[in-house]
Symmetry: C2
């Protein structure tokens, strides 16, 4: 890559936006000019990038002139509002919100899963739901080898999924509970300290939450597998920033744990953490600030009378692989 | 019940033992004499029972003379060591350890699930694994109506599963992490504060932990269903004392969420917590210190093309329904 790009980060002060800037720096993305965009409230603040101060600007529809790549993480409403301005300015929008993910004209991409879909973009590429991205980094290579048919998933999602305010609420509220003080939940529907909440995003008519249905619908789109069957229970737990998931997977063809380990050992974006004898398995504290998704607890599903089932456990940094890293990886593909 | 019983609690200073004494008091169990037994280290300490001080005695093989019911929660080794002394003294041992659970001569009982099995005892009745007991309070009534065939379970288990020292470690370690101090895990294999650990009890050759296999083997025994299929992933999370579980259940016959709710609304030991529109669903903080198991998030499994699947979420107090309450309920059946 010899060219240097003008890159905009929209939502630069959010938990994901902050990680986007760090990831552009750490991966030495060829940034010619960096534009940091946020609401008027944050304009004027400074952020360090490769040792230099970049001043945050208020985002307007004129902000995208000369921009090559616009990384958006400011919520679905903002993405919808700015889409036309970004695309008509000639920039490619890489959007972390759920606004366009299921739009048939918008590729939904995890570079380890379906990099080829990037080529189909018409100005917008969507970044998947963080929990789906983390799951598919582990599942896609197994699917390519043995064909995934049905999955039962339970998630253990960190406070960072509700942004910087979610992490801060967990920290502050935990101190309040330890000190026996009153708490007043804001970022979450209930107390999260020393608790869990089986409710992420809003409920739909069939009793599943939107978050749970994203796992099904986004996985179908990215795996190009419209007949995939998947049931998910999404649960918020008091961890800070890495999401974990228990995956029960039924395959079209037989697969053993050893075969799965051999496939995953070579899979991009995966680090095997599967040595139970030495107490090695995926955990949020180990996945935090790592680019790779940790995969372990790989075993033959004993609830089946054949060898077409596997159970495994994954942990991935929700802000990185689940969001900022994935967006920057998409930009690298461009 | 006109007779008053001599009841011994072995392991009276442990997390479960303390709850056993409280539960005997709260449920007005007809205790004529209460003997509190523990190791020499705890002997001489006093515990209040119905307003009177009971002095803890050092447990010896002679402690059980005149005892009618001996509630044991002092670990499997102690239970094995004292079994003969208890039984030959004429007392019935209600054992909370895993020592005799799968012994064909020992009934394994949850009163809401298989009360009839109590009658088969020959001096020892086993209390199941706490997570299994909580699961079966919800599953048994559905099984009786529609026949359970296969389950995929993911657990969210509280620190109390590792006893009083587990809860204390979670509290102390959380403060240490918040203050940026060094931590040194003892009760758990790794840091538990703001983390999770997908490892409870020891690993077996097939990659499952003993805890995960207890869910299968104890459920088969208590449901009298040797062909039950079940795969479990057991995970420790930083909650204090109630365990939660995501259950994906395949039935022999069709069942709708409304049918399940109607069955569970009448089921003993169950409180429905299933009103998503008002953010009501099972959570550890709500299950704590409750006798009932909370059941909610009931929905038709969308990963199946028929109506033979349900997903649901449960929370139950691990020290009460999972241990102390269940033991006292067994004593009540006697």
């Amino acid at each position: 890559m010899s060219k240097n790009y003008c890159v905009a980060v929209a939502g630069a002060t959010g938990a994901v936006g902050v990680e986007m800037v760090k990831t552009l720096e750490k991966r030495n993305f060829p940034v010619g000019k960096l534009k940091l965009l946020a609401s008027a409230r944050s304009a004027g603040k400074c952020v360090k990038f490769h040792g230099e101060n970049v001043v945050i600007e208020e985002m307007t529809k004129e902000s995208f002139k000369g921009v090559d790549i616009a990384l958006f993480s400011a919520g679905g409403d903002i993405s919808r509002e700015y889409r036309d301005a970004v695309v008509s300015s000639g920039a490619v929008m890489i959007d972390n919100s759920s606004a366009f993910r299921l739009d048939p004209g918008v590729p939904l991409v995890v570079p380890e899963v379906n990099p080829e879909d990037v080529a189909l973009h018409r100005g917008v590429i969507a970044n998947p739901n963080c929990t789906t991205a983390i799951m598919l980094v582990a599942v896609a290579p197994l699917h390519r080898a043995k064909g995934v048919k049905r999955m039962v998933v339970s998630t253990y999602q960190a406070a960072s999924g509700a942004g910087a305010k979610g992490m801060q609420e967990l920290i502050d509220q935990t101190r309040q509970v330890l000190d026996g003080r009153e708490i007043s939940p804001k970022a979450f529907a209930h107390r999260i300290a020393f608790n869990l909440i089986p409710h992420i995003d809003s409920f739909t008519d069939n009793g599943y939450t939107k978050e749970e249905l994203k796992m099904l619908n986004e996985a179908r789109k990215m795996l190009h597998l419209p007949e995939l069957l998947l049931s998910c229970t999404s649960v918020r737990i008091p961890a800070l920033r890495a999401h974990s998931e228990a995956l029960n997977i039924e395959f079209e063809r037989e697969i053993t744990p050893d075969e799965a380990r051999a496939i995953l050992a070579k899979a991009p974006g995966v680090t095997l953490a599967d040595d139970p004898a030495n107490n090695v398995y995926p955990m949020p504290v180990d996945a935090t600030e790592k680019y790779d998704v940790l995969v372990g607890r790989i075993r033959q599903d004993i609830s089946r009378n054949d060898r077409r089932g596997l159970d495994l456990f994954v942990s991935g940094d929700q802000l990185l692989k689940g969001a900022a890293l994935n967006a920057v990886q998409i930009a690298e593909l461009l």
